[in-house]
């Protein structure tokens, strides 16, 4: 069964450093998403991406964040200058088409900012 994959599973970085989180969505999906989940809290939407551009973003997704689909398979989230409060699980998700809202999630990347 096809699945969303994410790398790395755990990333430790120092405050102020740049990190890139990587995702490989399901191959025939058209919509891609990033969510984050601070430990013990609800899942929060960050950004959605379609047709090589951001279609929606939340107030969390400020200028420190960017997304890219550099080739036909990868979908990345970059945080330019990490802050302590960026520590969270980051989930990538993808969904198929215009009438399907069901999103499939990857296993997540745990980001720890020290």
């Amino acid at each position: 069964e096809p699945e969303v994959t994410q790398t790395p599973s755990h990333q430790v970085t120092q405050m102020g450093q740049e990190v890139i989180l990587r995702c490989v969505p399901i191959s025939n999906h058209l919509y891609f998403y990033w969510y984050r989940q601070i430990l013990g809290q609800k899942v929060e939407f960050l950004v959605s991406f379609y047709n090589n551009e951001i279609s929606e973003k939340s107030e969390i997704f400020d200028d420190q964040f960017s997304v890219e689909r550099p080739d036909g398979s990868n979908f990345t989230l970059k945080i330019r200058s990490t802050k302590l409060e960026d520590s969270a699980m980051y989930f990538c998700a993808s969904s198929f088409g215009t009438e399907s809202y069901e999103q499939y999630f990857g296993p997540g990347t745990r980001l720890t900012v020290t």
Binding site: F45, Y101, Q103, G108
Partner: protein, 113 residues
């Protein structure tokens, strides 16, 4: 009531019993709802979804009920098994041309053998 931080609402059931997990949503304009299951250390896993033009949908061992009058969603799990132990999230999508899912806090389900 809603909890914050580490104090998730918790439901404890005996193996073989039926479980009912409830969710109150806030936006009357939401037209699509989805239940996810999240096991410890894993990403959310799709369970079942329902559109606002329906009030009930059944899957394998699971049923979702939607009451738009009181903005309430429930997930019923029949014959609960130890493997059902997880945190369950409801999420909603507002009507319109967006795909953002707004998530609830989650309910922790513990199945006692």
């Amino acid at each position: 009531g809603e909890s914050v931080g580490l104090h998730l609402p918790t439901l404890s059931v005996q193996e073989g019993d039926n479980s009912i997990i409830n969710c109150a949503y806030s936006n009357s304009a939401s037209d699509y709802f989805i239940w996810y299951k999240q096991e410890s250390g894993k990403g959310p896993q799709f369970i079942i979804d329902i559109r606002s033009n329906m009030d009930k949908r059944q899957g394998q061992r699971v049923t979702v009920l939607l009451n738009k009058t009181v903005k309430h969603l429930s997930l019923q799990i029949a014959a609960t098994q130890p493997g059902d132990s997880a945190v369950y999230f409801c999420a909603e999508r507002s009507a319109g041309n967006n795909r953002k899912l707004i998530w609830g806090l989650g309910t922790s389900l513990a199945v006692n053998p």
